[in-house]
């Protein structure tokens, strides 16, 4: 594994000082790779991303233990603006565009951490990547379709010149065709520009196909990690995340009885 650009060491996160959302998480993202963070609803994936971005404080969350470092420097309690300035940029779950602003204005805000003189060239770069965004540039962002919004959200993040792009559930609520488009773009960016990606997904199938390495979270802990190929062949991952039976055939939903067999990694 090449040198890691982002690493979390024994990070523990509390909400309101009493609710432990994440316990003792350690993960590494190697430079130039796509790394997936998988897990069901409420596993704590988004909390981890918020901790990395420095936006936990808004929700009374706090990293109480452990450290987060990016590019060799500790960023655990840095302000969000400082973290973005270092090139660690997040595309939040559910797009979170500025709905009342136009598409261009959204993109310009994405480049807020950069010099104003750069905006023009950066806009052209995003337009080249997403021709649809160019067509819609003067429309109010709130009225775009879900797929277009996701493109704007990714484009907006790219305006900040990310070294590492964190994507929180980019496939959420989108049509399969659009999901493919967006993932193709992300793979191309990774391949052509060496952009490092931390991908948070519920859709394990999709994520493991794209990523080189994966972490699986449950109940605020990382229960399993490894190269995607190995995860894909793990019996538990197959049964609980990819929807295959033990024999490797697709299971009928009628036979799914999760409680029958305990996951091995939890025992």
């Amino acid at each position: 594994m090449s040198a890691s650009i982002l690493s979390l060491t024994n990070v523990q996160i509390f909400y309101d000082r009493v609710i432990e959302a994440v316990r003792d998480i350690s993960l590494d993202v190697a430079e130039g790779k796509i790394v997936a963070l998988l897990g069901a609803n409420g596993a704590g994936k988004s909390t981890v991303l918020k901790a990395i971005s420095g936006t936990l404080g808004r929700e009374d969350g706090e990293v109480v233990n452990g450290s987060i470092s990016f590019g060799g420097e500790t960023i655990t309690h840095r302000r969000a603006a400082d973290i973005v300035g270092r090139g660690l940029v997040q595309v939040p779950e559910g797009r979170r565009l500025f709905p009342t602003l136009t598409v261009v204005e959204n993109l310009v805000m994405g480049g807020y951490s950069q010099a104003a003189s750069q905006t023009r060239a950066d806009l052209d770069r995003v337009y080249a990547l997403f021709p649809r965004v160019y067509e819609r540039r003067d429309q109010i962002a709130g009225y775009l379709s879900g797929g277009e919004q996701q493109m704007v959200a990714v484009g907006r993040a790219l305006m900040a010149h990310p070294k590492l792009l964190m994507l929180d559930e980019p496939s959420l609520g989108l049509a399969p065709q659009i999901i493919d488009d967006i993932f193709d773009t992300i793979i191309a960016l990774n391949r052509d520009t060496g952009l490092t990606v931390l991908l948070v997904e519920q859709n394990a199938q999709l994520a493991l196909n794209v990523a080189a390495y994966g972490y699986i979270m449950e109940n605020g802990r990382i229960v399993l990690d490894g190269p995607s190929e190995r995860l894909k062949s793990n019996a538990d991952v197959q049964e609980f995340y990819l929807g295959f039976g033990q024999s490797g055939t697709r299971k009928s939903m009628r036979d799914v009885k999760h409680y029958k067999r305990r996951k091995r990694w939890l025992s």
Binding site: A80, F98, L101, M109
Partner: protein
């Protein structure tokens, strides 16, 4: 007809000050989600400071405005820092209560320093009446209308074209996402208070020089409230127009219906507006995609 034109002209002029105060309300509401009930007191304090400046330096109206604006901005920043910033993350209602407390404090402090007696505000302008068409205006009234026009235009350009202005709208639209773009939300709040204080100062100077500078001038803040509701609480430009409309309605109500109606006409407008268009004439409706 002459009476009508007179009512219209003086209505527009008073409306211009409402518009300026209203813009202050709207700027703070838009950026921070707080209705700042101390807006009228901000106007009061800055008007008194301007009064001291005007009497000691004997400045005329326009230079006085230019000198007072930076002072007002500093006051706005200090107030935000001391009273509002520590409340960040508390329920909005608590913060609004703090602004009400702040209002009482500012009122008290101002009266403590300058005393309860009204002052004649020195403007250095002639009291000659200028006729525009058939409508008579005092010079200072024309300055008032021009100021509103200039500030409105400046605000429009600021929110539309500058990165800082767009960032303020972005914070209003989605604070969490704005943070992820590297926008310092607390800095945006600070700037909002500075701008609100600046327009409050302009309104205060104009109002004081049109009428008198007295300890009841803070009430101008509440009187401007219908203007903001009419324009839409989050629409800065709407507040400017709302101010003119409310000024007109008040004056016409007083002129044609009865003396006491001036005070309540604006609030009748609020009630009607809230029933018909709860988001105001220009306020943002929630964008919903189905």
């Amino acid at each position: 007809m002459e009476y009508f034109l007179f009512l219209v002209s003086s209505g527009l002029v008073v409306g211009a000050t409402y518009g300026l105060v209203g813009m202050g309300f709207a700027i703070i509401y838009k950026a921070t989600g707080i209705v700042n009930f101390a807006q009228g007191e901000l106007l009061m304090l800055t008007a008194y400071i301007a009064f001291s400046l005007a009497s000691s330096l004997s400045l005329s109206l326009v230079p006085l405005m230019i000198v007072t604006i930076p002072i007002a901005m500093v006051i706005g920043i200090v107030l935000e820092r001391v009273f509002i910033r520590p409340m960040l993350g508390e329920p909005l209602f608590s913060i609004v209560m703090v602004t009400i407390g702040l209002a009482v404090i500012l009122r008290g402090v101002t009266i403590m320093i300058w005393g309860p007696d009204p002052h004649e505000f020195p403007t250095g302008l002639s009291t000659q009446v200028v006729l525009i068409g058939p409508v008579p205006f005092y010079q200072v009234q024309l300055y008032g209308l021009a100021t509103l026009a200039a500030v409105t235009l400046a605000a429009w350009a600021f929110f539309r074209f500058t990165r800082l202005g767009i960032a303020m709208r972005a914070v209003a639209a989605n604070e969490g996402a704005a943070m992820l773009m590297g926008i310092e939300v607390s800095r945006i709040h600070m700037i909002a208070w500075a701008l609100a204080a600046a327009v409050a100062a302009l309104a205060g100077i104009l109002f004081a020089s049109m009428f008198k500078l007295g300890p009841t001038i803070w009430f101008e803040g509440l009187r401007s409230f219908p203007a903001v509701i009419l324009g839409g609480l989050d629409s800065v430009l709407g507040a400017a127009l709302g101010g003119l409309v409310v000024g007109l309605i008040e004056n016409l109500a007083q002129g044609y219906i009865g003396q006491g109606l001036r005070e309540i006409a604006g609030f009748v407008v609020i009630v009607v507006i809230l029933m018909l268009r709860p988001y105001g004439l220009f306020g943002a409706r929630e964008i919903e995609r189905v």
